[in-house]
């Protein structure tokens, strides 16, 4: 990459930052704005300096220089502009008349100097120096990261060219991030984290994501077993170290992991596009609610029935979920592609409308309240930490089943179904049976997620089961990489976990994630952690095209 390209990338990044500044992002983000902007610079540097699939990796010095250039341009440029705005405001010029969002809060978020201090002549230079420093650091860091195999995220690299130093760094990365998280917590270092310690959560996400890539990268054999054990240990201690709110968010992520793995069977393995997946989530949640809550129609009307506990309700909910999957499966057996998508979409809405309108049984919009929490040998799991551990346990079980399914002859039959229904049938594959199996197992997992969700929420309402749940689950498996289980975890973090910490900027997060999806589909259509089969499918053009003739 030439210096010229670095300069161009720097100015584009600066433009984006100024735009975000002008639409008023700093006001909403408060003191964490500087770090967030630095992350943007980092990502931008990473993306613009990454090597393209066909090219050899750029040499370190060139990448460093360009990273530095991006950092300097964004850092100095942004600091200068902010300095200008701050000086104007210090002299009582009404900047907001022209730029509505460049208020005192904006300056305060970026420089740490509040309205009064600014008037009294306190300098914004130290704050801006810090800001520029962060940006430069971020730019350089982005450049450095392109040298790691982890940046393989951004392209399909050459396996041979990875040196052993990179390999070890990659394996160490999750632990380094985790250590960073620990250091933050223990010493209470403030790097712009908000009250809920969003920054800590971001580190946990990064740590898990790095672990997912590392587990995939690590060489097979003893190596792999040992490393995976370390990662498992790390994941198991995380809930002990995170706070209530962080655990609650991670718990939500786990529920979506469980659902993602289920939908992955239907969409990823069997290739059946199901847009009404939320229906089975709802069936699971409402089944458990109906047979457990003392407020529910069943418990209220059957004098001898006191309601089941979590462990008794769970299998019933899961079975009913599977049955619902088959019920949806039968009428759509003959449908393919877009027709299937539309019908399943409708099914999802029908279930929600039923929940809303069967007032007597489901409580209508008032939902079902007082759903009992899970309990394990007298240990109350009805708290974020308990739900998170339970979710992790379920996710492991579900993963185990899914891997067994994938590697069985049923798994192969699903692939055949996706490729060519007729040939598959001629080979003796019972299409009806395997399609129903896909719907049933996917639905059972969704119902499992739904049961956990009901237990976590205590009160559930039809609105919790709207179309956006289906869309989220589908998007997360696409982002993660269809057909891949690690991809589901990564996708859940990206789509469920990250937006949670951005709650305060609600309006923007949807836009941002829409943009992310679009960019994603262009840059890496197979998702971040695709299954090898899928990567093959979507990169067919890169492979030698089959020759029709040969001599």
């Amino acid at each position: 990459m030439k210096i010229k390209d670095g300069i161009r990338a720097g100015f584009i990044a600066l433009g984006i930052l100024i735009y975000l500044d002008l639409i008023g992002l700093p006001k909403t983000f408060g003191s964490s704005m500087v770090v967030t902007f630095a992350v943007i610079v980092f990502l931008f540097s990473l993306f613009s300096l990454r090597t393209k699939p066909a090219e050899a990796p750029a040499p370190l010095p060139s990448v460093l220089v360009n990273g530095l250039i991006i950092g300097v341009i964004t850092g100095l440029g942004f600091a200068l502009i902010t300095f200008g705005f701050a000086s104007l405001q210090a002299q009582d010029v009404k900047v907001t008349d022209v730029f509505a969002q460049i208020s005192h809060e904006n300056i305060e978020a970026l420089t740490g100097v509040d309205k009064v201090a600014l008037r009294e002549g306190q300098s914004v230079v130290p704050g801006l120096t810090k800001l520029a420093g962060y940006f430069i650091l971020a730019g350089v860091l982005g450049g450095v990261i392109t040298q790691f195999p982890a940046s393989k995220v951004l392209h399909i690299g050459d396996e041979e060219k990875r040196s052993s130093a990179r390999y070890w760094l990659m394996l160490a990365l999750p632990f380094l991030l985790f250590a960073f998280f620990l250091a933050l917590r223990i010493e209470g270092v403030d790097i712009g984290g908000s009250e809920e310690n969003s920054f800590g959560l971001v580190l946990i996400y990064a740590c898990i994501a790095a672990a997912l890539f590392a587990v995939r990268e690590v060489k097979a054999g003893v190596h792999k077993i040992g490393f995976s054990a370390l990662i498992v240990a790390l994941v198991l201690v995380i809930p002990q170290l995170t706070d209530l709110k962080q655990n609650a968010i991670l718990g939500a992520v786990m529920i979506f992991v469980i659902m993602g793995i289920g939908l992955n069977i239907v969409v990823g393995f069997a290739g059946l596009l199901d847009l009404g997946y939320v229906a089975f989530f709802a069936v699971g949640a409402y089944t458990y609610a109906l047979i457990s809550s003392p407020e529910s129609y069943i418990v209220v009307n059957l004098p001898w029935f006191e309601g089941l506990n979590f462990w008794a309700g769970l299998p019933i909910a899961v079975l009913l979920g599977a049955a619902a999957g088959i019920m949806l499966g039968i009428p759509v057996l003959r449908m393919r592609g877009d027709y299937l998508a539309i019908v399943t979409l409708g099914f999802g809405e029908i279930i929600r409308l039923l929940l809303l309108n069967l007032r007597d049984y489901t409580g209508g919009p008032g939902g079902i309240l007082e759903i009992p929490s899970p309990n394990l040998f007298g240990l109350d799991l009805g708290n974020p930490k308990g739900i998170l551990y339970l979710g992790m346990a379920f996710a492991v079980i579900v993963t185990f089943f899914t891997i067994r399914l994938r590697d069985s002859s049923l798994g192969r039959a699903w692939v055949a179904l996706r490729e060519d229904e007729d040939v598959a049938e001629a080979m003796g594959i019972n299409l009806v049976a395997i399609k129903l199996m896909a719907f049933a197992s996917g639905a059972a997992f969704a119902a499992l997620g739904g049961t956990l969700y009901a237990a976590r929420q205590v009160n559930i309402f039809p609105d919790n089961f709207a179309l956006d749940v289906s869309i989220n689950v589908l998007s997360l498996i696409i982002i993660g990489g269809i057909g891949s289980i690690e991809g589901v975890v990564l996708g859940s973090i990206a789509l469920i976990g990250l937006p949670e910490i951005l709650r305060s900027v609600d309006e923007y997060r949807i836009v941002a994630f829409g943009a992310l999806l679009v960019i994603m589909m262009i840059l890496r259509p197979e998702g971040f952690l695709p299954s090898t089969r899928r990567a093959r499918e979507l990169h067919e053009a890169d492979l030698d095209s089959p020759a029709e003739f040969e001599g």
Binding site: A426, M427, P546, E548, F549, G551
Partner: protein
């Protein structure tokens, strides 16, 4: 009694009457060829026999057993396998995965393994490329794969739909050699071909189909000499 006995089948695509009473039979150990022009109904005949299309009328018997009573996917369990037109390999799966799927209808691990070895012996190319994605094979190799995959079902009768289609002349010979070899090893073959010249050389008997009807039925030898066949299908005037 004939091994495969197709009697007076009528198959439709919606309103299109594609097969208008096709009858044919194949005896144990034979190679029988079905030749005809584009759109005559050859593929339709094979798809009807293998259960992918349901005839509105007529019967199909394999060793005295009525095949039309079985659900589509169970036909292969009765001993009929097909090498589909255009090969139909699962292009995103590896060669080995394709071959394993060919044995989907069977459960005896040991025999499947032995069968795989047999296929690899017949097509050493496939063994070399076992881990390669099928979509990246050459046309000739894909044909080998489609054939090998069908053999994995250990069929009594193999239906082949234009195996020489789109292959260079030098490879076509190889395809027909393979057909003879498979037949020698005891598999009965019903072969659909546009390349009538080659087909009639390896076949014992032949049928000529025209717009959904069988118009000629004779030994391969006689068909080769038949002036009508010569001018219409063999390019001899």
């Amino acid at each position: 009694m004939a091994m495969l006995e197709v009697k007076n089948i009528h198959t439709y695509y919606g309103n299109i009457h594609a097969l208008k009473g096709v009858s044919l039979h194949v005896d144990q150990g034979e190679i029988v060829t079905l030749i005809g022009a584009n759109g005559a109904g050859k593929t339709t005949t094979l798809r009807t026999i293998s259960g992918l299309l349901k005839p509105r009328q007529g019967t199909i018997f394999l060793n005295g057993d009525d095949l039309t009573k079985y659900p589509d996917h169970e036909i292969v369990y009765q001993g009929i396998a097909m090498v589909p037109e255009g090969r139909g390999v699962f292009s995103r799966l590896t060669v080995l995965e394709n071959i394993e799927l060919g044995a989907y209808s069977r459960s005896d691990r040991g025999e499947i393994e032995a069968n795989t070895q047999r296929v690899f012996q017949m097509f050493p190319r496939l063994e070399e490329r076992a881990k390669q994605v099928a979509g990246t094979l050459s046309g000739g190799e894909q044909q080998m794969l489609a054939t090998g995959r069908a053999l994995m079902a250990n069929p009594k009768i193999l239906l082949m739909d234009e195996p020489s289609m789109g292959l260079a002349p030098i490879l076509v010979e190889g395809v027909f050699d393979t057909i003879v070899e498979i037949n020698k090893e005891g598999t009965t073959i019903l072969l659909v071909e546009q390349n009538a010249l080659m087909a009639l050389q390896v076949a014992d008997r032949g049928y000529v189909i025209q717009t959904g009807e069988i118009v000629l039925n004779d030994t391969a030898e006689n068909l080769r000499r038949n002036p009508e066949v010569q001018s219409a299908y063999l390019g001899i005037n």
